[in-house]
């Protein structure tokens, strides 16, 4: 008791200071809204931080489990992918047998490529892709995107190819109305990089606004059925024998990036047939 008293005499000021400060802080936190909110918030912050750390540690410890799960999932996905591929192959075979076209739709080789240079504002737009002769690209191959037809390879060198897009005044594409099968010749007049014209469609053709336009497969370049765009307007030509369709192109030429070059095994034969006919 005496020691305690001496202790208080010696350190009494400091002990009293601590006691009264604690009392003050208790009063502050108890009775002042603002400080209380900050106090609660700080406590929350600290607790959350500890929580976060613990969560990370437990995440790390359960990595093996997660690996196992992902591997199982991958295997399952791969399985279903192969199944789908086999199904698509079956469908393609059935299609080929059905449509009685020569075998050009089958065994199309697809080369992925990236656009390295592009133009959309001139009447003679062209774009360049990063694949050339050494990758098996030759003139007169078709170029598509995931959206639809993009253009036709015009010239190649070892590493690059120049492509004539649909939005070039020289470009011509044989296209048809998907619903009714009437075909015409697609060309572009500009200046809008998303509107083309389908001409030489007979006046009695069954066509409505919104009809899908696809490639006809009559040219050597594209197989039948690749989407081109939608009909936005139907105009009668003078004389009334033919109509002209305004087509909103599906491919966004203003942001071409990934494209695919198509090679049809039968293309050279078809081209030579056409040339022979013209002569």
């Amino acid at each position: 008791m005496r020691d305690l008293f001496l202790l208080f005499v010696r350190y009494g000021g400091f002990l009293l200071f601590l006691l009264l400060e604690s009392l003050s802080f208790w009063l502050i936190v108890r009775y002042n809204e603002e400080q209380r909110a900050i106090f609660d918030n700080s406590i929350n912050l600290i607790v959350n931080k500890i929580d976060d750390r613990l969560q990370r540690i437990s995440d790390y410890l359960s990595l093996a489990d997660i690996n196992e799960q992902l591997a199982t999932q991958n295997a399952a996905l791969l399985d279903s992918l192969l199944e789908q591929k086999a199904f698509i192959q079956q469908l393609q075979n059935a299609c080929a047998a059905d449509t009685l076209t020569f075998d050009t739709t089958q065994a199309i080789a697809v080369y992925p490529a990236t656009v390295v240079s592009n133009s959309i504002a001139s009447p003679n737009n062209v774009f360049i892709i990063d694949k050339g002769r050494r990758h098996g690209i030759h003139p007169l191959m078709g170029v598509i995107t995931h959206e639809g037809v993009a253009g036709i390879v015009k010239a190649t060198n070892e590493r690059y190819s120049l492509v004539l897009p649909l939005i070039n005044r020289q470009a011509r594409l044989s296209a048809m109305i998907a619903r009714s099968g009437y075909f015409g010749s697609l060309r572009w007049e500009g200046p809008a990089p998303n509107v083309a014209l389908l001409e030489d469609v007979p006046g009695y053709a069954d066509v409505e606004q919104g009809d899908l336009i696809i490639t006809s497969g009559y040219s050597a370049i594209f197989p039948k059925g690749i989407p081109v765009g939608h009909v936005t307007a139907v105009r009668e030509m003078p004389g009334g024998a033919f109509i002209q369709l305004e087509v909103a192109l599906r491919t966004d030429f203003a942001r071409l990036n990934r494209v695919f070059v198509l090679r049809r095994p039968a293309a050279p034969e078809l081209v030579s047939t056409k040339i022979a006919t013209q002569q």
């Binding site: 009293l16 200071f17 400060e21 009392l23 802080f25 009063l27 502050i28 108890r30 900050i38 106090f39």
Partner: protein
């Protein structure tokens, strides 16, 4: 002895009313003009006052001011801290011949220069502690320092005026 107690009691009441009724209104009009004068009561307690008593009186003065400001504990914590720091500052500023423990640490006894240094150190500590507790975090350190600086200037002006006008011996 009795006169010392009376003097300090009167000073306590005067400073408390000055702080609670007049200076508080100034701070309400212009938040950056937070002038504090009441710590003078702690500063001017007689040198022989036992240290625990100084701290207890500081706490009580702070609580009394808190009643006016309706901020329970805020001024109390700052005043308690000031009372605690008083002994340390007194030791730091001790003249070569030591203190006469029968006196109070006033400008009359120890000189205006000494007293201004003494009050400046303690007022700065008081204000820094006060605004830190008011913010209750050091996130707004810049604002704490700005408020402390501005309040320090005005408070010291009032301390100076008080000292010159009353120039208390005890």
């Amino acid at each position: 002895m009795n006169s010392t107690i009376l003097t300090n009691t009167v000073r306590f009441v005067v400073l408390l009313l000055l702080q609670g009724l007049i200076l508080r209104r100034i701070a309400m009009e212009w938040p950056y003009f937070h002038i504090v004068l009441y710590p003078l009561f702690i500063l001017l307690l007689p040198l022989r006052t036992p240290r625990p008593l100084v701290i207890l009186l500081g706490f009580l003065a702070g609580i009394a001011v808190d009643l006016f400001y309706q901020t329970p504990g805020l001024h109390a914590s700052a005043a308690t801290f000031t009372a605690f720091a008083r002994a340390l500052v007194l030791r730091y500023l001790e003249p070569r011949g030591g203190y006469n423990v029968n006196y109070s640490p006033t400008a009359w006894r120890l000189g205006l220069g000494w007293f201004l240094r003494y009050s400046a150190i303690l007022m700065l500590l008081h204000l820094l502690f006060y605004f830190s507790v008011e913010a209750f975090t050091f996130v707004w350190l810049g604002e704490i320092l700005l408020k402390t600086g501005l309040s320090f200037i005005f408070s010291m002006l009032f301390v100076f005026i008080y000292t010159v006008v009353f120039n208390p011996a005890e």
